[in-house]
């Protein structure tokens, strides 16, 4: 018999309690993994949009934390094009629209100019991109088209305006594939924001970070009231991304607290019930350290069992979440390996946090008193 056999047999002795404790841990760990996973995928997808299109800087109104609330004059684009070190400039107007009939509460709608560099990274699966001066036509991301049940040639009502679907595309990120692209002028008119854009994306002539930093300074000095931000910084500073990150870590802290209290309770009960048995083990010559290893071992095995269950639950839970209309097209159902690994670390951490005190208490039991325990 191995020592681990003894540990596992002790856990199996009270199957219901073991399963309930592990399930509690699993739910806590799954919640953390899903939230951290969503936040991480959210950030990654957002970044992919910019990286995939070769965007070096984003120009928006200074002081805003959410791109959607930015508002700049479209004519600024021409001035930016004339700035030294700028290779390409593209204007973009971004908003959100809902498709209640399809159960989609919110989808990103992008207003781009025909032939804009922003089309880079989009692969047209069906149909075509729009031509200059074309109005009320829409290109749908693959996921959105699937959710709306639309194909090329179909009519589409967008916020009360009639549109015709002329293309279906696949984007490099889930945001792209869950969004739609319409001509900039059409969207400006629809939203009552004529000659206004959300911002500009800039591709620099040199990919050198120092040159990009210089360009950023030049733009901000030349055009007061605008902020030029590198894509990665922009993504990391985005208020929604920061919120999702904060929520994920706040949930992690809460799950750690609740999970370790649950584990602590289970292990304290286990030690209390087995006081006499611990006395017997000490009488048989077991050292305090071995008793400590036994109880901590049980706690760690329970934690790892909970973590494994939590990882499965997180994967299943995320896929189940996609059934909700609001999540469709926004959530990547694949959890990155690093996030799954976090589940394992959490399981270990919870089991150690919850197991140390009962294990130390068990190891400090006086053998003769423990034997007298009823």
């Amino acid at each position: 018999m191995r020592f681990i056999t003894l540990i596992l047999r002790n856990l199996l002795r009270r199957r219901t309690r073991t399963v309930l404790t592990a399930s509690g841990l699993a739910v806590a760990i799954a919640s953390v993994l899903d939230l951290v996973g969503i936040a991480s995928n959210f950030e990654r997808s957002f970044l992919t949009i910019f990286v995939g299109k070769g965007i070096d800087l984003l120009v928006v109104r200074a002081g805003i934390s959410n791109q959607l609330s930015s508002n700049l004059d479209q004519k600024l684009g021409d001035k930016l094009r004339g700035t030294e070190g700028v290779a390409q400039v593209a204007a973009t107007l971004i908003d959100t629209v809902g498709f209640e009939g399809a159960g989609i509460a919110s989808a990103l709608i992008n207003g781009w100019e025909s032939g804009s560099p922003l089309f880079k990274g989009l692969r047209i699966l069906e149909g075509r991109a729009f031509e200059p001066n074309e109005k009320n036509v829409a290109m749908l991301g693959r996921v959105l088209a699937l959710n709306l049940g639309k194909k090329v040639g179909d009519k589409l009502d967008v916020a009360g305006e009639p549109f015709r679907v002329i293309g279906i595309y696949e984007g490099e990120s889930l945001f792209d594939s869950g969004a739609l692209v319409v001509p900039l002028a059409t969207l400006q008119q629809m939203m009552g924001r004529e000659s206004q854009v959300t911002g500009f994306v800039i591709q620099a002539r040199s990919p050198d970070p120092v040159a990009i930093a210089d360009l950023r300074k030049r733009i901000e000095a030349e055009f007061p009231g605008v902020a030029a931000t590198p894509a990665r910084d922009y993504v990391q500073r985005d208020v929604q991304i920061r919120l999702s990150r904060v929520m994920a870590w706040a949930t992690t802290a809460l799950a750690l607290l609740l999970g370790s209290v649950g584990m602590l309770n289970t292990m304290i009960m286990a030690v209390f019930e087995r006081t006499q048995e611990i006395g017997v083990l000490r009488a048989l010559g077991w050292r305090r350290s071995r008793v400590l290893r036994l109880i901590l071992g049980e706690s760690v095995c329970l934690g790892l069992f909970g973590a494994a269950l939590g990882m499965v639950l997180a994967v299943v839970g995320l896929r189940a979440l996609l059934l909700a209309p609001t999540a469709r097209g926004f959530i990547d159902p694949n959890l990155p390996p690093a996030v799954l690994f976090l589940g394992l670390i959490l399981g270990l951490l919870l089991s150690i946090l919850g197991g140390v005190y009962p294990a130390v208490r068990a190891s400090l039991l006086d053998p003769s008193e423990a034997l007298r325990h009823e």
Binding site: L6, N10, Q276, E277, L284, G285, W286, R288
Partner: protein
Amino acid sequence: MNEFPVQPSPLLRAEGLTKTYPDGEVQALRGVSLDVERNEAVAIMGPSGCGKSTLLNLLGGLDRPTEGEIYFRGTPLSQIDRDQYRAREVGFVFQSFYVLSTLSAVENVQVPMFETTLDRRQRVERAEALIEQVGLAHRRNHRPMQLSVGERQRVAIARALANEPSLLLADEPTGNLDSRSQNEVLQLLNDLHQRQGLTLIIITHSPEVAAAVQRVIRMRDGRVLEH
């Protein structure tokens, strides 16, 4: 290498043992002194509450005396590692057996061996031999709940012998047994004493057990009356 040097008898000597429990109201032992020779079989008898179990716990290194000293092969217990003493030199048998319900008979016997340097194969081999020695080879893979009370006590005896102790301490080992099982266990303890030269200290209320040992120590009110 043996940690406890072999010295002239006695194997165990208790000098002026007193034990007062922390509340200060119960004085379980009041100046107990005794010698137990190597290969001796001794019974300790006396009414409930006279301090028998307290004495056994002190002799087995489970507890420390308030005053006095115990010498094992001439070395004071206060100067040696009690865990090691219990693991290597002492085997305990309890009235309620205390075999672990989740483990089979042969696995129960392996439990004390975790404190030795034996590997898994050696632990299993020794446990199998001990289970055979107590006559339970055919029940080796049975869990305690599948064994009779007499068989459970035999498993507990095999477990007490796991690390080849020189001293076996038994606290009313036949107290919970029917007469047939009582005879079997008594016979087994007698064999271990006779054939292996194991030193036995048995707490008992049973005249049969007392008749089977070489010497009876009688106690009352925390004192030894005769030995």
